[in-house]
Symmetry: C2
């Protein structure tokens, strides 16, 4: 995400309390991310996993990602190419896992008003959503270190990049 303003993303819409079992259904957990992915959110929108495209965003209601601590709930959205989730609140464990795994979560009190939008763009400085008609919708600020972590693909890729950069600087 090098540009201040990204190109518009298609929007998938969900309600309140989308839990980790809807994201990564327990019945498929032993199959790994590739086996879980076709079943992501199938109980809510059966076409999601088949039709989602890289760069799409999810707009949801309160408490997105509540439930268990399973990291696969965030990992499967990364695997499917979801660019960001936009919701007024998140399960705390999901919020922690998501950034660690490189998934950008935007906390937007007015996420409900975005549900009728076919496309959204994410803009930076300040972090905000831009509607097709040019209007902006505010999001809670995200600290730079977490934005950088999401952009790097998560905590471990970010650490690897830093260690590699240090190794190069010592040559």
């Amino acid at each position: 995400m090098e540009n201040d303003k990204e190109t518009g993303s298609r929007v998938w819409k969900y309600g309140d309390d989308v839990d980790t079992d809807a994201l990564a259904p327990g019945a498929y957990m032993q199959l790994g991310i590739e086996g879980i992915a076709p079943h992501c959110l199938e109980n809510l929108v059966p076409a999601f996993a088949r039709e989602v495209r890289a760069g799409d965003v999810i707009v949801a209601g309160r408490n997105f990602g509540i439930g268990s601590s399973r990291e696969q709930a965030a990992a499967v959205l990364v695997h499917l190419g979801v660019a960001a989730v936009i919701a007024p609140s998140y399960g705390g464990l999901f919020f922690r896992n998501a950034f660690n795994l490189g998934l950008l979560l935007l906390t937007c009190p007015d996420a409900g008003s975005l549900r009728s939008q076919p496309q959204l763009a994410i803009a930076r400085q300040p972090l905000r959503l831009v509607l097709p008609d040019g209007r902006a919708v505010a999001c809670e600020p995200v600290p730079d270190f977490l934005l950088a972590m999401a952009q790097a693909g998560g905590l471990l890729p970010q650490l690897r990049q830093r260690l590699a950069a240090q190794a190069v600087s010592r040559l």
Copy 2:
């Protein structure tokens, strides 16, 4: 917290949307934690900072800790000796900061029903709250690594303890 069941804790009660500015008011941020602490939650319950005792718990409504990413919002509760916060949901950034700083957060969908309790005990395996009459109230599970982090006093103390243990094992 070595025992499975802790002794009862006094309960401080708050409503929905207690934000980071209520916890660590912006006007006192330059004073450091000791300067912020007397003003923690003063706009909601003026007596809190003066009367809170080590081991007390906070029972609150939805979205506890929403707002900014300031770590002082969690650090000040640790400084004042708060043993845990119990709420149905948290601000995502606050949730992340709290465990990193050694503050235990319990996600309890029925936190509202606890508001009339003068005392609560936190029990483990499974994680639950025990009322004075012996009834238990379920909490969302917290992964062992996060419980251990909170118990160790946070991410950095836990890391220091691990590194010290490794150093000793090499002697």
